[in-house]
Subunit: 409 residues, 2 copies
């Protein structure tokens, strides 16, 4: 597997576009479109929130129930279309219908994504005009993919794209690429994480959904910026089969190769998202090793990156290990605090803070230097078993408060 | 039941003191003592964190296992004595021993409390000197109780005390009073909530523990400032029996009167704690009504006051109801979003924001005015059943970040 330049349009057969349709007040790009030249299989994972935005209901219905071939995705990043009732669902149908008309596709081959303010209805005239603009702008260059990645941003400060290629056992080269937005695990008001991925692999539809369902819990779901879980979280993976490989039907070696590459793509995007958390100055990774079970390892790692007090300490470059140990302690996982080793690692070096639960007498100055970098990792060794997991978050700063105290104004 | 002036020393037979023993760097009061003139029954509730501070281990052992009569409590608010291993437990024994010697009591009649920095050992010379100073300063005036309440503060900006009197069915007047500290549900580094309560009621020891165990989950445990759960959380209730009532043995009318008064005391202290959350400018209460079960009502209410995004919106006086509905949605409780009514209430008035899940077209200006007060309540009507619950939190501001980015420095 190797990293290649670009995002969704690095993959054979995918076009993209991003435009400003006047939905955001500030005139920034706010609508994106993805089009596959041929019909795709689609897999998806969606928010677990009891309150689901209209486009989430639309996509779940189309991907998990109707299972018809997909050609296009239309996204707006100004209004979430969440808590909009029956009108909101009608707006989905009208958006898909407008895209289908201008692209000459069946309405049911169009998926949707929204992010932005909750509770407002979509301005359908602008959405319709936006769809027309997008259709005119579509193209398959890396720049087209990049524009789409920019158009799905809300409080994100950088667009997030990645693409990889891998060789299957028959020598066929397959690609996976995509984009995401979300500078928070969730921002119910700007509605969090949207990820749109494409591949040219030929696959059995069940294997495609299985691969995505297996990868998302270890990647996107291990990111926490503020612990809130959105109404709009969506991750869609389209497969157009243009690579020409013999379709991946079973959980064989090719399936594993594909899933590993998909994991790399999702983990890369997840880390970009954590690092670009609202107001964040660094990516904070917690790696838990030698836990007794995988689920416990994940629970422990998530608890640390979700701890507001730990995040505030990281912002202050303060090696406040008591907060990390405390967050492990309230994770709900049973362990022996007197066995835990803790290290902090960054490009400035590696320092052991705790050995068997006791302060090593480390240099606070060196620890502070390590914490001053823009990618920081805490490794907690539980000495219980063989299970490892990682979770990603960021520090919490004054800027987070500024952004979120007044988001709608 | 009526509110009376003061805290722990408003109750017959309780003396208190607070002094500066030089444990805090800034020279502020950092040790407190409570002494009952006669032996007390003790009840306690403690942190659920897997990592428990040494004084928590000491108190649990004495209250829940040994069950010997208690005469005194010694508290320091400079160092948490958490993650201090065997030396930390020895420090507990030495502190109790020093207090027992100076007060002429058995060592096992002394309980302990600590809050402050994690991972440092107690300076036993200063602790011992502090215990001597405290014994000299003990007194039963309201001012003595007030000084003790001040001496247990960390980042708290105001001391927290309350006392009530109630008449039992035989006409005896009984009092309950106490103090707490904790400007956060938890601050692993300053170690959160400590509450010390006293009553002169004569009670069966099992009824005393039962009353406390029934009241704490609905009061102190419904406060969230930052979602973290401390290594040191402790609530102790001492009963010296000096009221001379016929002892409360069963769950009779007197038990209910006592428990209601205890609930009032704990709820008052819990709200003071939430309102004094680090950097907070207001008390934010979420009341959930008509949920299907009490547990679900509590889970929903806690989810709202714990939502970082909601807290940031409150700080911005922004009636961002999408964040409240979203936090209800990810609480884990099943409900119909299309049935929810939502109101905001403060001294500036009451405004209905949602009716059956839909925006009422309320005035943003009026809502913002309501949210500008220092006590704000959101009422969510789930329309599912008869269960109600309340949870308390606060807004999150720049000041929270400033306090916690650099706590140890």
């Amino acid at each position: 597997m190797q990293l290649v330049e670009g995002g969704i349009t690095a993959v054979r057969g995918f076009e993209a576009a991003g435009v400003s349709a006047g939905i955001k007040k500030n005139g920034k790009a706010d609508m994106a479109m993805i089009l596959s030249k041929v019909p795709c299989l689609a897999a998806g994972t969606f928010t677990s929130n009891r309150v689901k935005a209209a486009p989430v209901i639309w996509d779940r219905d189309h991907i998990l129930i109707k299972k018809e071939p997909v050609r296009a995705v239309v996204v707006n990043s100004g209004i979430a279309n969440a808590c909009t009732g029956k009108l909101g669902l009608e707006a989905c149908q009208k958006t898909a219908s407008a895209a289908a008309a201008v692209l000459g596709l069946p309405e049911d081959s169009v998926l949707l994504g929204s992010t932005g303010v909750i509770g407002r209805q979509l301005p359908l005239d602008r959405i319709t005009r936006g769809v027309e603009l997008l259709a005119e702008e579509l193209g398959d260059t890396l720049e087209h993919g990049h524009q789409a990645a920019q158009a799905i941003m809300t409080t994100d400060t950088v667009p997030k794209e990645v693409a990889v290629s891998l060789s299957l056992s028959d020598g066929t080269e397959v690609m996976i690429g995509g984009m995401c937005k979300g500078s928070g695990m969730i921002h119910p008001n700007m509605c969090t994480m949207l990820a749109f991925l494409g591949t040219d692999a030929a696959m059995n539809p069940d294997r495609l959904q299985q691969a995505l369902s297996e990868v998302v819990p270890d990647t996107f779901n291990m990111v926490s910026v503020d612990g809130d879980t959105s109404t709009n979280d969506t991750c869609i993976l389209l497969a157009n089969g243009l690579a020409g490989n013999s379709p991946i039907e079973t959980e064989d070696e090719d399936y594993r190769l594909f899933k590993d590459a998909l994991r790399y793509v999702c983990e890369s995007l997840a880390k970009m998202m954590a690092k670009d958390g609202e107001g964040a100055t660094c990516l904070f990774e917690c790696q838990v090793i030698h836990a007794d079970t995988k689920d416990h390892a994940k629970q422990l790692a998530r608890s640390v990156v979700s701890s507001t007090l730990t995040k505030a300490a990281i912002a202050g470059h303060d090696a406040n290990w008591g907060r990390i140990l405390c967050a492990l302690g309230y994770s709900g996982v049973d362990f022996d605090p007197d066995k835990v080793d803790l290290c902090l690692i960054s490009s400035a070096g590696r320092i052991q803070i705790l050995e068997d639960g006791v302060d090593t007498g480390y240099s606070e100055e060196q620890a502070s230097e390590i914490l001053s970098k823009d990618e920081i990792r805490a490794v907690a060794d539980m000495k219980m078993g063989d299970a490892d997991a990682a979770a990603w978050g960021c520090d919490i700063t004054h800027e987070y408060i500024r952004i979120n105290a007044d988001y709608r104004s």
